[in-house]
């Protein structure tokens, strides 16, 4: 069952990352370098 827990944790991390990145991009919309 450990492999399943690992997959679930990885998915949770990915969802969290995408959500936070979306917030960061909203806050910092300056893509022109």
């Amino acid at each position: 069952m450990q492999w399943l827990k690992n997959i679930i944790n990885r998915i949770k991390l990915e969802i969290n990352y995408r959500k936070k990145l979306k917030e960061l991009r909203k806050r910092d919309p300056f893509i022109y370098k």
Binding site: L13, Y17, K20, L21, D28, Y32
Partner: protein, 271 residues
């Protein structure tokens, strides 16, 4: 006397009529870099009758800002005032172990946009189509992917870069380091910021690690904009004219008026 300005695109003057940001759609930089003389930092230098030295550049993180301001102070005699406008805390600078093929060789800033590997995501963000800027980004993304920077940015933001705590903490390190440096050198300075979240987020965390840094801040030398806001948030919320993403001349002119008195007082105190 010289006013040294540190910051990102707001301090550089992106999208203001008198500035040019070089883009490199072909991997070369055809345009000469021209720093704006209409930003609130440049106008402050004019108000104070000082020469203007701009160490800012678009896309800079707080780490780049600290580094370039310190370098400027070390190489400039007769600094009369340092005016720093800190950037968004979610940007990070690294010195890679290889040439990133960008403007500063091994030094490279990653932002929340550095994880993008599809040009269409960037195209969607454009309010106005601009083929030159789009070509620049296409080239930039291709290089970042080829060198592994995109993967690095994804990993960094997944594991710590997107953390509100880490972004605030790492930015505060830079702020405190520059503050201590300027105080040691007895160089008058004023700090401001583009988004007040840098200060607000750091005050949210009450653990000893964060609070030890927060306690070092000398807020007497800061200027916030009305409503305790950063320059960008203030200009955006007060509906100043904005270009693609940056407040235009009017916001800078009013901001210069807002900080004028404190800057004069700071310079006077040190003379």
């Amino acid at each position: 006397m010289i006013l040294v300005a540190g910051g990102d695109s707001f301090t550089y003057g992106s999208e203001l009529k008198d500035s040019v940001t070089p883009f490199d759609p072909n991997g070369i930089e055809p345009a000469q870099q021209i720093v704006s003389q209409s930003t609130f930092a440049a106008l402050t230098a004019q108000n104070l009758g000082m020469e203007y030295h701009c160490a800012a550049y678009p896309g800079y993180s707080n780490s780049s800002i600290r580094r370039t301001v310190m370098n400027a102070c070390e190489s400039t005699a007769d600094v009369g005032l340092v005016l720093v406008t800190w950037s968004f805390p979610g940007r990070y600078e690294f010195r890679f172990d290889y040439d990133t093929e960008e403007r500063w060789g091994n030094w490279y800033n990653i932002t929340p946009w550095s994880t993008v590997d599809d040009i269409e995501i960037i195209r969607k963000e454009f309010r106005q189509e601009d083929p030159v800027i789009l070509a620049h980004h296409k080239q930039h993304l291709a290089r970042a992917r080829r060198l592994g920077i995109t993967d690095f940015a994804k990993s960094y933001y997944t594991n710590c870069g997107s953390s509100e705590y880490w972004s605030a903490y790492s930015s505060l390190l830079e702020v405190v380091m520059l503050q201590q440096y300027l105080k040691n050198k007895k160089i008058p300075y004023i700090f401001s910021l583009v988004d007040e979240c840098l200060l607000n987020n750091s005050k949210k965390y009450t653990d000893a690690n964060m609070q030890t840094l927060v306690k070092q801040l000398d807020m007497d030398d800061w200027i916030l904009f009305p409503g305790n806001r950063g320059f960008y948030v203030w200009a955006r919320d007060e509906n100043y004219p904005i270009g693609t993403t940056h407040p235009l001349e009017q916001a800078h002119s009013d901001a210069a008026m807002h900080i004028k008195e404190k800057c004069h007082a700071m310079v006077k105190k040190h003379n």
